[in-house]
Amino acid sequence: MDHPKNKKTNETNPKGISRRGFLKGLGVTSIGVAAAPKSELLAKLEKTPSPNGKLLGKDAVIITLEVNGKSLQVEVEPRFTLAEVLRDHLNLTGTKIGCERGACGACTVIMNGVTVNSCMTLAVDAIGQKIETIEGLEKDGHLSKLQESFIEHDGMQCGFCTPGMIMSAKDLLDKNPHPTREEAQEATAGNLCRCGTYPKVFEAIVAAGK
């Protein structure tokens, strides 16, 4: 689905990673089943000159990600999504996965000041970008006003969608410090909450802006 968030991901087309490397990374997942047409595609890609001479995959590479202001080194296969690298390799499990195809927003993080679905972002595409996750909101042991507002207004039930909701809300507040309920609704339009906590999420966001 063409969610605005995903569009933005494409817009912030990362530098340094060739499209060819990207495709190759994706292609690897299907090598196992040896689908002939795909192998041909890969072979063709191998022959296509890469614009900047950089080719990633299929083996793992060590990359550096800047997460919550810290530089973290991690070994990733080019096919790994940012969501899985954050969760499974950097132990930042606050970022959740609800659908793994850009439809639920549970994996929302902020990359260079723009919300992205980290399940739709390759980790290698996040190299050199400033990544903010839910774990980065607390500063010196103090919760942010937004987090406090979520607690005070009960902007959560099971809490599984909450990190994604808060990241979308943070992005809104960063750009619009005093949002209305309607603006809060729009900002969280990509975040599904099965517990149906929305009204209190809107309340929490509006109150955090006051």
Binding site: G32, L92, G159, Q185, A189, C193, R194, C195, T197
Partner: protein, 769 residues
């Protein structure tokens, strides 16, 4: 030893005095005059910080050293016999540590697309996914049927050739299951013995001044919790299993695992610290639990097996669909004469398609009769889903009631008042709805608005039942530094029971909720309820209070000599223990705690039977919904929802409100968007995701206002009753009635999508010209 207490009980301020005999070791129950500091107030979640910082660890987040990732291979066919499975290629795939078929011996019968065939565990999740693709399965493909009407035909492929026993992990109200007839794909009809007979209800309907007969259809809805099903299984010794599970019932899952692996209960530990929603689908372990434990045993490594979104839609439960034909009648004065319901639906390869709860339990009538059947189809099994059978039943009943009121020219709210005189709580709720919602502004003439956008207001009733369960044990432990820990195995599925436990204990001990450390979600703690049937708060909170009361008494015994008095003269409040008559004579909680001999003491509160059975054993709700219908596009937009509910004494108004919002929003989502679509040519679900299986999102949310009635009975120490289920029952029916009020056409089929609105408008136009 027993003591006598006088209580003032009733609805809100309308109280009467009762005298009650209760055990000496328990506190005087909170009654209608109880003046409380935290309980029944708006207390923010004590685990809010964990949830807003990402520190809360869900099953999905558990990572253990050496942990492997599990993945299922699932059938791509809806009906088949598997003769051969070749795993040789997968076995040699890098990282693969264990492959285990679900059924040890072949042939294996497949009854729905997505059924589990085997599971693989590998070092990484990608390796597990790749390995699954390398497995060759030889299917002997069979004929299948996914459409329930087709399944009822004589020539239909048979889903089960043996009789199916109903297995149920949840409370099913008013459904005494006897032996039910099963013929080909039809199981039923089930008739409830205490209902009347068809003859009697037919006679009552024949003697009515007005009747309504209509058929209503509802769709299959999947639970779609944001966290999918899954477990992390870890054998900590050869005969010791530790399992992190995303479940609504740690004790139930422990029993299932203990049975499967022939282990004593003492050797199985199930942990659920945080869980991302279940709504009924996670009452039992699901096959993922067994398979993860088997893989872990074979590989001798912990295994995490979480489902993905597609698997979640296909295989682990749904709300069955229904076709309900209702006949109801009333006399001129509005008195209901009879209700007759013939209903069938499919829970795929499961059972539980009954819908009669609302029709049987909301109104007074002379005669009632219902026949309910399950139709087996080659589709994923149904499971308990927030008020099983009730949203679908209320969708039909509440529209029929509305229609009958219109026929008799009686205001639909008035009509509901007339027929629920036996129920004081509902009477109060309907009156509040009449006063505080915009009901009075409603134009009684359907479709009266001019212009393409037409607005309407509709109402519907909800019903659920008071269950609580027994023998739960809650312990309160007070340490010599004054800190307090309250412990029970119960899991918090998002309803806020953690905060309720903290508030109830704090209230009793004169401390703050944040002073209480609540330890829950572990089968090694005291026995607690499964969270299903809205039993958790009513089940646990009295035991919490009783254990805290005993702890307070212990503290009073320690404090009394220090304050030169006797324990019965003491009270605890604001972190102090002091003389009732002279608050200046006090000691801080911590100073008293210092005198605890040894390190700490523990008191146990046990959930026993209620002191008596409350007069009204149902719980209720009324939803009034305002809607705007665009008659050009067919788009339905709920604009405002007014809800009034009761749950005995609400333990926390803030989280109760959240649950009501959630029930309403799930109800709207069910009413307008959700629909599990199976392709009848392939038997495969065509929308197993969140793009085409749409659930309500932020832009779909109307303004919601709720009133929570305080109903005190004095039946146990807290008087809490659940709210999870009743909050979702009335919504679809109220919305349908609002749409009727807006456009003058009834939509008798869910979901009420724009195409159905337009078709209904067209048909009316056709009928008019």
């Amino acid at each position: 030893m027993a003591k006598q207490v006088k209580l003032n009980v009733g609805i809100e301020d309308n109280l009467e005095e009762i005298t009650l005999e209760i055990p000496e070791s328990t506190p005087r129950p909170w009654d209608g005059q109880a003046d409380l500091k935290y309980v029944s107030k708006r207390v923010p979640r004590v685990d809010g910080e964990a949830k807003t910082t990402g520190r809360a660890k869900y099953t999905f987040d558990i990572q253990l050293p050496g942990m492997l990732y599990g993945k299922f291979l699932r059938s791509q066919y809806p009906a088949a016999v598997i003769r051969k499975i070749d795993t040789s290629k997968a076995e040699n795939y890098p990282g693969v540590k264990a492959i285990i078929p679900v059924q040890e011996k072949l042939p294996m019968i497949v009854r729905f697309a997505g059924q589990e065939i085997l599971a693989v565990a590998a070092e990484t999740r990608h390796q597990a996914e790749e390995a699954v693709k390398l497995i060759d399965v030889t299917y002997d493909v069979r004929k299948f049927v996914v459409n329930k009407e087709a399944a009822m035909e004589k020539s239909a492929p048979i889903v089960f050739d043996t009789n199916v026993e109903e297995k149920s992990a949840e409370n099913k109200p008013g459904e005494e299951s006897g032996s039910i007839e099963q013929k080909s794909n039809i199981r039923g009809p089930r008739v409830t013995p205490r209902d009347g007979t068809p003859d009697k209800v037919d006679a009552a309907l024949a003697g009515s001044d007005a009747t309504v007969e209509a058929t209503f259809r509802t769709q299959v809805q999947t639970h779609s919790p944001m966290e999918t099903h899954g477990v992390v299984a870890h054998w900590t010794a050869e005969d010791k299993l530790k399992c992190y599970a995303s479940t609504q019932g740690v004790f139930h899952v422990r029993d299932e695992l203990a049975n499967t692996f022939s282990l004593p209960k003492s050797n199985v530990q199930v942990i659920t610290k945080f869980m991302g929603g279940g709504f009924g689908a996670k009452l039992s372990m699901s096959i993922a639990g067994f398979m993860a434990a088997k893989l872990a045993r074979k590989a001798n490594r912990p295994v995490r097996l979480m489902l993905d979104r597609k698997e979640e839609h296909l295989c682990v439960g749904n709300r069955p669909d229904s076709v309900q034909t209702l006949r109801i009648g009333a006399k001129k004065d509005g008195k209901l004469t009879g209700i007759k319901l013939i209903s069938y639906g499919t829970a795929g390869v499961g059972t539980g398609a009954g819908t009669s709860g609302p029709a049987r339990n909301i109104y007074q009538y002379d005669e009632f009769y219902a026949e309910e059947s399950d139709i087996f189809t080659n589709a994923g099994p149904g499971a308990a889903f927030r008020a099983p059978g009730h949203p679908q039943g209320a969708f039909a009943l509440e529209q029929a009631i509305d229609e009958l009121a219109h026929k008799l020219n009686i205001d639909p709210l008035e009509f509901r008042l007339l027929n629920t005189k036996h129920n004081d709580v509902r009477q109060v709720q309907l009156k509040i709805a009449a006063e505080k919602s915009n009901w009075k502004k409603r134009n009684p003439r359907p479709g009266a608005d001019s212009g393409p956008i037409k607005r309407g207001i509709g109402i519907a009733n909800s019903v659920w039942y008071y269950f609580y369960g027994q023998n739960f044990q809650v312990s309160t432990r007070v340490f010599s530094d004054g800190s307090v820990q309250v412990t029970n195995g119960v899991q918090d599925i998002g309803t806020g029971i953690t905060t309720v436990i903290a508030s109830v204990a704090a209230e009793e001990l004169g401390l703050k909720p944040s002073d209480i450390v609540v330890s829950i979600g572990d089968s090694e703690y005291g026995f607690g309820p499964s969270s299903g049937g809205s039993v958790t708060t009513g089940g646990i909170s009295p035991a919490v209070r009783d254990s805290a009361y005993l702890a307070k008494m212990r503290m009073f015994e320690i404090a009394a000599p220090l304050l030169e008095t006797t324990p019965e003269n003491l009270v605890a409040a604001d972190g102090k223990i002091f003389l009732k008559t002279d608050p200046a004579k006090n000691l801080s909680w911590n100073d008293v705690a210092k005198k605890i001999p040894g390190d700490n003491f523990i008191t146990i509160g046990e959930r026993k039977q209620d002191y008596f059975q409350p007069k009204i054993r149902t719980i209720h709700g009324v939803h009034v919904i305002e809607v705007a219908v665009d008659t050009e596009t067919g788009v339905v937009k709920p604009e405002r929802v007014f809800a009034v509910h009761d749950c005995g004494r609400s333990m926390n108004l803030l989280t109760t409100e959240s649950q009501i919002n959630g029930g309403i929003i799930q109800g709207l989502s069910y009413a307008l968007y959700e629909d599990r679509l199976l392709d009848r040519n392939t038997g495969i679900m065509v929308n197993p995701n969140f793009e085409y299986y749409k659930i309500a999102g932020s832009m779909d949310i109307p303004e919601i206002k709720s009133v929570i009635l305080n109903v005190s009975y004095g039946h146990n120490s807290t008087g809490a009753i659940g709210i999870g289920e009743p909050a979702t029952v009335a919504t679809a029916g109220a919305l349908a009635n609002a749409i009727y009020n807006a456009i003058g056409v009834r939509l008798r089929e869910l979901p009420m999508t724009p195409d159905k609105v337009l078709r209904a408008l067209e048909m009316r136009k056709g009928a008019e010209s």
